[in-house]
């Protein structure tokens, strides 16, 4: 069987043939087996066309639709044109299929227009300056501006700024009442400390001049060149606006209050004087009349006077055995 199937090697086949030569009966049997080979029939598969695939199948369309669309889209090959011709011959209604597909081409509505083209367009300002350069310049400008603003507090104040501080000294310093004039030197010292000049002696002289003269004179002197005042150079100091305002305003308010109190004090003084005079007069009259009564009745009368710091009578007390009179200036405290 291996020999018939052709599975023997050449050497094995030679040995087999030699063996068959030696055994003629077996050789005849083998010759009979050689004639038992089946030959194929001439039958053919006649519906091969039904198995053929086209691109229409790939797309999922029927072949007529595919051809009709392809004609619209790309055009037909010669072979496809022949197929179309034969297809149309089969039925005249088939032409409707091709007509339908030619109608599926869309047409754009040209009346629809984009109205905001101007917003999309770009302009070049100067050919040399590109947008990137412009951006860089603007960034640099912004940084410079921020730096300048940020360093403002650290910059030294100018002499002009220093002068302004001196000009704004309150005029109240000039019109302080006598009792308060002792505080003026303290104020001078405060102003002097603020200025903090190198030429301390000269500066003190200037400040004293400012205090002792009128405001107009101060302004005039401030308009003069700084060198003319003998100030060689100023070392500016940082000014706290709140502190400065407080220092400037408080003396004005205090002076105002002190003036009011001074007037009140003067008014009170005059009233005390009047009252004291009236009291002395009345006390003398009473003492005289009491002495008369004592003389008649034989009783002893004592009189105590209460005086203030200025030696004015502010109250008195009259006592005898049968009578006791106390009198004082109204609404004023009496101390012994």
């Amino acid at each position: 069987m291996d020999y018939l199937d052709g599975n023997l090697t050449d050497s094995d086949q030679t040995m087999l043939l030699q063996f068959l030569e030696d055994n003629p009966t077996l050789k005849e049997e083998l010759d009979g087996l050689d004639n038992m080979v089946l030959n194929p029939t001439e039958d053919t598969f006649t519906i091969k066309d039904q198995l053929l695939k086209t691109q229409a199948d790939e797309i999922g369309l029927g072949y007529p639709d595919y051809i009709a669309i392809k004609e619209v889209e790309e055009g037909l090959s010669e072979e496809e044109n022949l197929w179309k011709a034969s297809y149309l011959k089969e039925d005249k209604q088939h032409s409707n299929l091709f007509t339908s597909y030619t109608q599926t081409l869309l047409k754009a509505n040209k009346n629809i227009r984009y109205q905001l083209k101007g917003n999309l367009k770009r302009a070049t300002l100067i050919p040399i300056i590109t947008i990137n350069k412009l951006k860089r310049i603007s960034i640099a400008a912004a940084v410079a501006m921020l730096l300048s603003v940020g360093t403002l507090p650290f910059l030294k104040e100018s002499a002009h700024q220093m002068k302004t501080v001196v000009v704004n000294d309150p005029p109240s310093l000039i019109t302080m009442p006598k009792a308060q004039t002792e505080k003026a030197p303290n104020k001078d010292i405060q102003v002097k400390d603020k200025i903090n000049t190198k030429a301390a002696v000269k500066q003190e002289t200037v400040v004293q001049t400012i205090v002792s003269t009128e405001q107009r004179t101060i302004v005039a002197s401030n308009d003069m060149p700084i060198e003319a005042l003998g100030i060689e150079s100023f070392e500016t100091t940082k000014v706290n606006a709140y502190e400065l305002g407080l220092n400037e305003m408080m003396p004005i308010i205090i002076a105002s209050n002190m003036a009011e109190r001074e007037q009140e004090y003067l008014a009170m003084q005059s009233q005390v004087e009047q009252e004291s005079a009236r009291l002395s007069k009345s006390s003398r009259a009473i003492v005289g009349s009491v002495k008369v009564i004592n003389f008649l009745s034989g009783n002893e009368t004592k009189m105590n006077k209460v005086l203030n710091q200025d030696g004015q009578m502010v109250a008195y007390q009259l006592e005898s055995e049968n009578i006791s009179i106390r009198q004082r200036i109204k609404n004023k405290p009496v101390t012994n």
Binding site: E58, L61, D65, T104, L106, L116
Partner: protein, 161 residues
Amino acid sequence: MTVKEYNNSVEQYSDNIYRFVLKNIKDTEKAKDIVQDTFEKVWKNHADISYAKVKSYLFSTAYHTLIDSIRREKYKAEWDKADENKYYSNESYSDLNEVLHQALDRLPPDQKNVILLRDYEGYSYQEISEITGLTESQVKVYIFRGRQFLKNYIGKIEVLV
């Protein structure tokens, strides 16, 4: 591409882009926004884009912006209705082109876009492929299927009328 060339492209193609987008989303304000975004993106890269390819670049950018927008709004095509002949309309149609555009709205976005690019702008399969990112064979399949749908839609409307 120079600034001048960019401005020329605005003049030449903004209408086309706008029509293309508007036919897709049916919202003039959104369409304007997409056109603006598209040109803004092109402007940012204008130095790297050649004027010869700017139209394709514009449509490609507009297409992807549009798709993103549609996806965001979870747009759903009514393909099933058309396929099963469920659509029905009692509107009166002024002309065939209007009917076709109504049919177009019933297509899935991909089919709709490739047909618009094909018919409005006359792009080849390859160009549409480059714009949309689809393969050339996909573009062809979408166009053929879309055409069949449009033909069927016209036929049904004619029957109804």
